[in-house]
């Protein structure tokens, strides 16, 4: 996603500037004060809108012990992976852009639980979680982040451009909103061939303001294509809150003028996501056309690694973490309702940590691509 100034080669210096409080605004005390004040106003506004938008639906159907354990493990894998990726970025092992999924794990994990084998997934640039959820190997994903030959794209794609035809994951797209027509086209192919598969097309609240999204909505409904549009509303398009960017803040209604049904879902509750996902996928698979799910979620980290964190308050982030965290919710239910022993969860934690550490180790030591790879895969050559 190239909407921010592309960081230049020396990663370290800019990170220092971003984290080192106000070094760039520090022209004088007055200016600093003004900047801070305006920052608070925008953030306060955003928080008010956030409170108003918090989901208030009835509790969703519960999950079995096994399903909760599986969701817990899958979400934990994504979180630990992303934390590690953040660390490796800080060490200069990962370059360019790196958009972390921390906070939003319940969305992909819940949807994955609602899918059937053969269904496809496509998303934008905040894509590591989607890849891990579809079962792609953590080593291959991490090695792509570090630009190594063992990465899913042989090191030629990077964070935003990874694919696995085997796992039916179609990327990983860096242009905001571009994946929406692409996912609609994959659904077109499903219908053309008379296949049962549904294409899950993810995008954010920011991408939801792109024109091509609505061009896609129109064709998808017109031709009754088997596609589910999942709008991951994490409340901020980079640093612009939904309140400051969207005339219609209820994204489930964004398909209304095309007669596409939609619903708002508590995207921090994996049970709610799974239940809504099953409804939406059944609708699309049944030949009724597209369906929109607005997942109300939240990202704890910045938009990318160089985020000024000035557009929202620390309190807001903290409150979402402590009161709504997707993983903590499941953990609590596992311990209290499903009577899972603390030790069993600890064992799962250790298992996940080991996978992530092995991935990091592989991604650190795997060699860079062979220089000859510069020239390969430009054009597909048939044998």
């Amino acid at each position: 996603m190239a909407r921010e100034p592309r960081r230049s080669g020396q990663a370290g210096s800019e990170r220092t500037a971003a984290s080192g409080s106000d070094s760039k605004v520090a022209a004088g005390p007055a200016r600093r004060k003004a900047a801070a004040a305006s920052g608070r106003t925008a953030a306060a506004k955003a928080e008010a809108a956030l409170n108003a938008a918090l989901p208030q639906s009835a509790p969703p159907p519960g999950l079995s012990r096994e399903a909760e354990l599986e969701a817990y493990r899958a979400m934990l894998l994504i979180r630990r992976f992303e934390e590690k990726a953040g660390q490796m970025y800080g060490m200069g092992l990962i370059g360019g852009f790196c958009h972390l999924y921390i906070g939003q794990e319940a969305v992909v994990v819940g949807m994955q639980a609602a899918m059937k084998p053969g269904d496809q997934v496509i998303t934008g640039y905040r894509d590591h979680g989607h890849m891990l959820a579809t079962g792609m190997d953590a080593k291959g994903v991490m090695a792509e982040l570090t630009g190594r030959r063992g990465g899913y794209s042989k090191g030629k794609g990077g964070s935003m451009h990874m694919f696995s035809v085997e796992k039916r994951f179609y990327g990983g797209h860096g242009i905001v909103g571009a994946q929406v027509p692409l996912g609609t086209g994959i659904a077109f192919a499903n219908r053309y061939r008379g296949e049962e598969a549904v294409c899950l097309t993810y995008f954010g609240d920011g991408a939801a303001n792109q024109g091509q999204v609505y061009e896609s909505f129109n064709m998808a409904e017109l031709w009754r294509l088997p596609v589910v549009y999942i709008i991951e509303n994490n409340k901020y398009a980079m640093g612009t809150s939904v309140a400051r960017s969207s005339a219609q803040q209820d994204f489930s209604k964004r398909g209304a003028s095309f007669n596409i049904p939609g619903e708002q879902v508590d995207g921090m509750d994996v049970r709610a996501v799974k239940a809504a996902g099953e409804r939406a996928i059944a609708w699309a698979r049944g030949g009724k056309g597209p369906y929109i799910l607005e997942m109300q979620t939240y990202r704890y980290r910045g938009h990318s690694m160089s985020d000024p964190a000035k557009y929202r308050t620390r309190d807001e982030v903290e409150r979402m973490r402590t009161e709504h965290d997707a993983i903590e919710q499941v953990r609590k239910r596992l311990l209290e309702e499903h009577k899972v022993a603390e030790d069993e969860l600890k064992r799962l934690d250790a298992e996940v940590r080991q996978i992530v550490n092995e991935a990091a180790d592989f991604a650190t030591h795997d060699p860079e691509p062979d220089p000859a790879e510069l020239w390969t895969d430009v054009i597909y050559e048939t044998a």
């Binding site: 042989k154 990327g171 027509p181 692409l182 895969d377």
Partner: protein, 467 residues
């Protein structure tokens, strides 16, 4: 005074048409706005309205006449009270001012702007000097067909051959194609495989790319490439780059096709040549044929090619006829230029409609004793530099011809390649003939000035020959 009713033009590029039917007969009285006849071309049909009140004194061109040139008098209307017999007597002079203002019903939006005559120097095809492909067996029957028919046949043949091939775009199905290139495909292949889209270039280009990622082989028609600018992000960022970005996992077998470049009298937004734009992009293959045989053989190759292809057609060439080998499966190699005319004095490199200037200029030059070798690039990316270099080794001189703008045009690219690969053989600087560095004007005289001409090519060729 009697008025001539002239054969109207349905579009700025129409040169002739069929007088399908008279709806009035001699002696009928007519008033302004009455429909008096129907005419049709391979693109569309339209009604001819009377522009004067009076009596249809004489029908000059009977029902069913084919190939009636635009502006030919087709009937005479006598004003009320005039002597019909006298009015219908043959007259020598046709007054241009009386050319009827005819509405073009059922014509495409951009073609309907003006009932202009196709007066450009390139309107008539030069005598074909096209040699058959070397791989066409001797004695193969040649069939004369238009570029439009050749493109249609190529699509139909590939759709018969492979069920994954489908065509989508604006007006490709029910309307039979805005320029009639997809004529008849809906009837043969049904609306499952011939898909009318809403007017939504960015959306359907992206949808086509997604379908290609999932294994289909879409042919995406743009009504013109001017409108593909709305979709260029999907063409460049999604179609061209994903194979590379996926480390070779994802392939994108898609053809983006449609008319490219200036038509006639449609102004700056509808008259642009994208040859150099797309040929700039690694991951894309760019084809721009001139003859009907190349159009057919290369479009078939493009549809089978497992990579994104930008296939640049030309509206003015659609109606031009060429001999096409009658073979069951005529497929040409992508990336191979063709020496269309042999010569020893100067190499002229062109493609698509640029070939019309090049071939006419070669004839003119021959009269002055300059023998030009004319190369049709056919594929712009990958560019067949070898064929150009081999020719320049022989001639020592090169002129490039394109309708696009000069800056960063393909002429500049060819020039740079020759400097790198044939510097020691050059006896004169490589010279570019191109469109002028201005947006395309509407006025007929200015438009003509903005485009290259045969005279420009002749002059450039003589200059590099120091004559």
């Amino acid at each position: 005074m009697p008025t001539d009713v002239l054969m109207p033009a349905l579009s700025p590029t129409m040169e002739e048409g069929k007088l399908a039917k008279w709806l009035k007969k001699e002696g009928d009285s007519v008033k302004s706005g009455d429909v008096i006849a129907e005419i049709e071309t391979d693109k569309a049909t339209m009604e001819v309205e009377a522009v004067d009140e009076g009596v249809l004194a004489k029908i000059l061109v009977p029902d069913g006449t084919e190939n009636v040139a635009v502006n030919t008098p087709i009937a005479i209307i006598a004003a009320n009270g005039e002597d019909v017999a006298e009015a219908s007597a043959p007259r020598q002079k046709v007054e241009k001012a009386e050319q009827p203002e005819t509405p073009a019903k059922g014509e495409t939006e951009q073609a309907a702007k003006a009932p202009a005559k196709a007066a450009s120097a390139v309107a008539t095809p030069p005598a074909p000097a096209v040699q058959p492909e070397p791989d066409v067996p001797a004695g193969t029957e040649m069939v004369t067909m238009t570029v439009r028919e050749a493109l249609r046949d190529a699509m139909a043949e590939e759709m018969r051959r492979d069920g994954d091939v489908f065509v989508m775009g604006e007006e490709v199905a029910e309307y039979q194609g805005a320029y009639k290139v997809t004529q008849g495909l809906l009837q043969e292949f049904s609306d499952r495989r011939v898909v009318d889209t809403p007017i939504t270039e960015h959306g359907f280009a992206g949808l086509g790319v997604g379908a290609a990622f999932a294994g289909l082989k879409p042919i995406v028609e743009f009504m013109t490439f001017n409108f593909a600018m709305q979709a260029i992000d999907q063409i460049v960022n999604s179609a061209a780059k994903t194979h590379y970005m996926s480390g070779g996992q994802i392939i994108c077998p898609i053809v983006f096709r449609g008319p490219n470049g200036a038509a006639a009298r449609v102004g700056a937004q509808h008259s642009q040549d994208y040859s150099s734009w797309y040929s700039h992009v690694p991951g894309l293959t760019v084809i721009a044929p001139y003859s009907a045989a190349d159009a057919k053989g290369l479009l078939k190759a493009a549809i089978r090619y497992p990579n994104p292809v930008v296939f640049l057609e030309n509206e003015i060439l659609y109606g031009h006829s060429f001999p096409v080998p009658k073979l069951d499966d005529y497929v040409l190699p992508i990336g191979k230029a063709k020496v269309v005319r042999q010569g020893s004095d100067v190499t002229i490199v062109a493609w698509s409609i640029g070939m019309t200037y090049a071939l006419k200029a070669a004839e003119e030059l021959a009269k002055d004793g300059v023998e030009a070798e004319v190369i049709d690039l056919r594929t712009l990316r990958p560019m067949d530099t070898d064929t150009v270099v081999e020719s320049v080794k022989k001639t020592g001189r090169c002129v490039t011809v394109e309708e696009g703008w000069p800056q960063a045009g393909l002429g500049a690219e060819i020039s740079a390649r020759l400097m790198a690969e044939a510097f020691d053989y050059l006896d004169a600087p490589v010279t570019r003939v191109s469109g002028r560095d201005v947006p395309m004007p509407y006025a007929a005289n200015l438009e003509k000035l903005a485009l290259p001409s045969v005279a420009d090519v002749v002059e450039a060729a003589k200059a590099v020959c120091y004559r």
